[in-house]
Amino acid sequence: MQSIVEFKNIFKSYPGVIANDDVSFDIKKQSIHAILGENGAGKSTLVKILYGHVKPDSGEILINSDLAIINSPSTAKNLGINMVFQHFSLFESLTVAENLILGMNENISLTKLKDKSKTICDKYGFNLNLNSPISSLSVGQRQSVEIVRSLLNNPKILIMDEPTSVLTPDEIRKLFKILKNLVNDGLTVIFISHKLEEIINLSDYVTIMRNGKVVSTISTQNEDSETLGYKMLGYKVSKAKQVSDINFSQEIFNIKNLSTHSKDPFTINLNKIDLNLKKGQIFGIAGVAGNGQKELMEILLNENDYEFSGDIIFKDLKINALSTFQRKSLSISYVTEERLGHSAIPEMSLSENIFLSMNHKSEFKKGDFINFEKINSYASDVIKNFNVDTPSYNVKAGKLSGGNLQKFIIGREIMSNPELLILSQPTWGIDAGSEAFIKKTIVELSQKGVSIIIISHDLDELLEVCHQISVLYEGSLSNPLNVEDINITKLGKYMGGLFD
C-alpha cells in the first residue's frame, strides 16, 4: 500500500528537552495508525508538527510523496489534514451548530451546515442536539462535536489525540466502527493513545515512541497488550489487584433516596439514589458521561448549595446542609474531574495548592496567618511519597504533566488522612505509569480502612480496583454488583439502563 505521510528525520527541541529526536516513519494510506507512548514521549509534538501547529527544528514531511511545508493549521487543512485535540477548543456559551460553523473554511449558511451536520450525525450515530449550548454537554458529547467538526471539512487524514479516554466501552465500540467505516471511505486515521488494548483492537499499525525517539513501527497483528506495554515503557507494569473476599461491616457513608428536581433542561435530575458504603470499601460508579455524574459530584461536594431531597449521612451524622468546608473538616476528601482550575490552580505553586484544599486544617494556620513552613514540609512529603516528578514545591502546578499533577493532588488528599475519599475520573488523560501508581495507591488506601467512591467512565479501571460497582443511567443508580460476579454483558446492559 502507498504511504500517505512520511516523516523524515524530524527534530524538535524545547529548552531542556528534546521532544522529537530523529523521528522517521511512514503512514500507509487508508490505514489506522496508532502512535503509542507515555506522556512526554513526544507523540503530541509530532502530530502538532504534522498539523502545522509546531515548527520542527529540522526534518521533512512528505504527503503523498510530495514535500509538504506545513507552517500553519490552515495549510494542514488545505492538505486535508484535520485534528481532534485532547483538550477541546469549544465556546461554552455557543450552541453545537455555532461551534461547528466556526471551524469551517468555506462560507456556509447555518441552516445548510445544520443539514450537513445532521447527515453526518445520522450516518455515524453521533447523538447530538445541534441547538444545545456546549456548556450543557458532557465531556463525551463535546468530543463528538469536535469529531463532527473535523468531518465537516472532508479530511483525508484525521489526527485524534487520546480520543477514547472519555468514552464507555459501548461508545468506544461505536467510535471504532465509525473510524473503520471512514477508513473504508478513504480516510487515513492517526491516533495517539497509551491504551494498549484499544490500539490492538483498532489500529493496523503502531509506532512506539519513548523519550522523543521512535522505538519501532510495527503491525499490530502479532502483538498483545503485554508485549506492546513492555515496548512502550521499557519495563513491565504490575496491575493493582483488589482483594475481594473481605467482610465489610461498619457502615460509614449512606445516601438515602436522593433526588433532584431541577427545571433546567440541561441538567440531569437524580432519581431516588441509594448508596451504602462500608469502612474500607471501594465503590465504583460507572456509566456513560452525562448521566448525572456531574450533578451527583456537585451534591457530594456541595460547592453551590445544590437543591435536593433525601439524605446524605456520614458516620451517623446528616451532612445534607454542610458546606464543602465543613465536610472537609469531617475528613471527607475530594478529587474533582477537572484538575486545572478546580482541584488545583495552574498559576499557583505546589505549596499554595496544598493550602488550597487544606485551609480547613488548623495546623496550617496561625490565627489568620498562613503557616508556610508546615505547608512546605507537607508538600515535600507529598512529592516524596507519591513520586511526583518536580524539582521543588515552588514550581507552579501548571508546569506539571497531567499524571504528575494528579499524583500530587491525590497525594495531597490522602496525606490528610481522610476517612472517605471521593474521586471523579482519577486517571483521565494521564500516562500509564502514573495511572498504575494511582490505582495501586487507592487499593492500598482501602486496605488501611479508608472508604472510597470512584466516579469514572473507565470500566477497566473500576473493575481493577473496586469491590462493588453501580451504574448511573439517566440519573438513576443501579443496584450494586460485586466485582467478582460481574460479567461484561450484564454491565453493558446496566449501562444501557436495563436494571430495575
Binding site: T324, E338, H342, I345, M348, N359, D368, I370
Partner: protein, 353 residues
C-alpha cells in the same frame, strides 16, 4: 476564512515582563508624548523638563508631589483588594466624596470643638462614609447579580450631587458671600502638616501603613490567599470552600473605606472645608495607579508618585508653556493605554498576514 490579524494565547507568558511592562509603558508614553509637544510647536526636551523635572526641583514641589500622591496611593491600595478579587469597583470617586461628606460633616457638626478627639472621629467617619457607599454595589451584586462596574460608577454621580446639595444648601457658610462652600473646619479638625509652611500632611504615614498592612495581608494571611485564589479561578475557590459573596463584601468595604479616608484627608488637609470640587478625579485616576503598580502594594506607592507628577506637570505646563492642563490627563491616558497594550502583547502573540 481570511484573517488580517490573528491573536493567540502564549503558553508561557513571562512574569518578568509583567513587572517590567509598566516601565515600557512609561517609556512609550514619553516617546509619543514628545510628538504631542512637537505638534504644539514646543521643544519636547524643554517641555519634558518643565513637565516632569521642574515641578519637583524644590521642597515645595516635593511636598506637593506627596500631597497629590497620598490620596492616589490610599485609594489605589484599597482598589487593589477589589481588582485582585476580579471585582471592578469603578466608583472610588463617589466613595471618596461620601467619605468627605461623612467625615467633613462631623467637622461641621462640632464646629466649636477644641477636643483632640475631633480629628480621629472625622477620620473614622470618613472611612465609614466611603465603606457605606461601597456596600451598596456589593449588596446589589450579591443579591441581584447586578454589574458592579455600572452601579459603582453611577453612584459616583449620586454622591457628587449629594455633596452639591449640602454645600449650596444646609451646610452653606452664612458668611461665605453665597458661595457654594461650607464653613472652615475648626483647627482641631485639620490634618497636621509634616513640615511647617508646606502642605504635605500625615496622610503620607497612613498611606505607608496601609501599604505595609496590605503587603502582609496579600502574602501572609488566609484572607489574602482567598483573594488570590478567587481572582485566579472561581471554581477552585469554591473547591477550597471560600464564600465568594463574603469576599465581595469585604473587598468593597475595604476599598470604600480607603477611598473615604482619602476624601476626608483632602478636605481636612489641604482644603480645610467642603465645597464642590474636592477631588481632581483622584478616584478614577487611582484605577490607573492600581494597575500601573501591578496591584502590588509597593508598586502602587511608586506609580502613585509617577501619576502625581503628571498632575503637577500639567499645572506647570499650563503656567509656563501656555498649554491646557488637560495634557496631564492625556499623559495618564497614554500610560494606561500602553500598559494595557504591553500586557496584551505579553499574554498573546499577534500574527499579521
Amino acid at each position: 476564512m481570511v484573517y488580517l490579524i490573528r491573536v493567540q494565547l502564549r503558553e508561557d507568558y513571562s512574569n518578568l515582563i509583567f513587572y517590567l511592562s509598566p516601565l515600557v509603558a512609561v517609556a512609550l508614553t514619553l516617546f509619543f508624548g514628545s510628538f504631542i509637544f512637537l505638534i504644539l510647536d514646543l521643544n519636547p526636551i524643554e517641555s519634558f523638563k518643565i513637565f516632569f523635572i521642574s515641578p519637583i526641583s524644590n521642597s515645595y514641589g516635593i511636598s506637593e508631589l506627596f500631597v497629590k500622591a497620598t490620596p492616589l496611593a490610599i485609594i489605589a491600595l484599597g482598589l487593589s483588594y477589589c481588582f485582585k478579587n476580579n471585582i471592578y469597583n469603578i466608583g472610588a470617586e463617589g466613595q471618596l466624596t461620601m467619605g468627605a461628606i461623612f467625615g467633613g460633616g462631623i467637622g461641621l457638626l462640632f464646629n466649636d470643638s477644641t477636643s483632640v478627639f475631633l480629628l480621629p472621629l472625622m477620620i473614622l467617619f470618613g472611612a465609614i462614609g466611603g465603606a457605606f457607599w461601597a456596600t451598596i454595589p456589593a449588596i446589589l451584586k450579591t443579591k441581584f447579580n447586578t454589574n458592579e462596574i455600572l452601579t459603582s460608577l453611577m453612584l459616583t454621580y449620586v454622591a457628587l450631587f449629594i455633596l452639591d446639595y449640602f454645600v449650596v444648601g444646609p451646610w452653606k457658610d452664612p458668611a461665605g458671600y453665597g458661595l457654594p462652600k461650607s464653613m472652615p473646619f475648626p483647627d482641631v479638625g485639620r490634618l497636621p502638616v509634616l513640615i511647617d509652611g508646606l502642605r504635605v500632611h500625615i496622610g503620607v504615614y497612613f498611606a505607608l501603613i496601609i501599604c505595609l498592612i496590605t503587603y502582609i495581608i496579600y502574602n501572609k494571611t488566609l484572607f489574602g490567599f482567598k483573594l488570590k485564589v478567587t481572582g485566579l479561578s472561581s471554581k477552585a475557590s469554591q473547591y477550597a470552600g471560600f464564600k465568594y459573596k463574603n469576599l465581595i463584601f469585604y473587598t468593597f468595604i475595604i476599598s470604600g473605606a480607603c477611598a473615604g479616608l482619602a476624601g476626608l484627608f483632602e478636605v481636612s488637609g489641604p482644603i480645610g472645608l467642603l465645597y464642590r470640587d474636592i477631588s481632581p478625579n483622584y478616584g478614577f485616576t487611582a484605577i490607573i495607579v492600581a494597575f500601573l503598580g501591578r496591584l502590588n502594594p509597593f508598586g502602587i506607592i511608586l506609580s502613585s508618585l509617577l501619576i502625581a507628577l503628571t498632575y503637577l506637570g500639567a499645572e506647570d505646563a499650563q503656567l509656563f508653556l501656555k498649554i491646557p492642563s488637560a495634557v496631564g490627563f492625556v499623559f495618564q491616558g497614554l500610560v494606561l493605554f500602553f500598559l494595557l497594550g504591553t500586557d496584551f502583547l505579553n499574554k498573546y502573540k499577534v500574527f499579521i498576514k
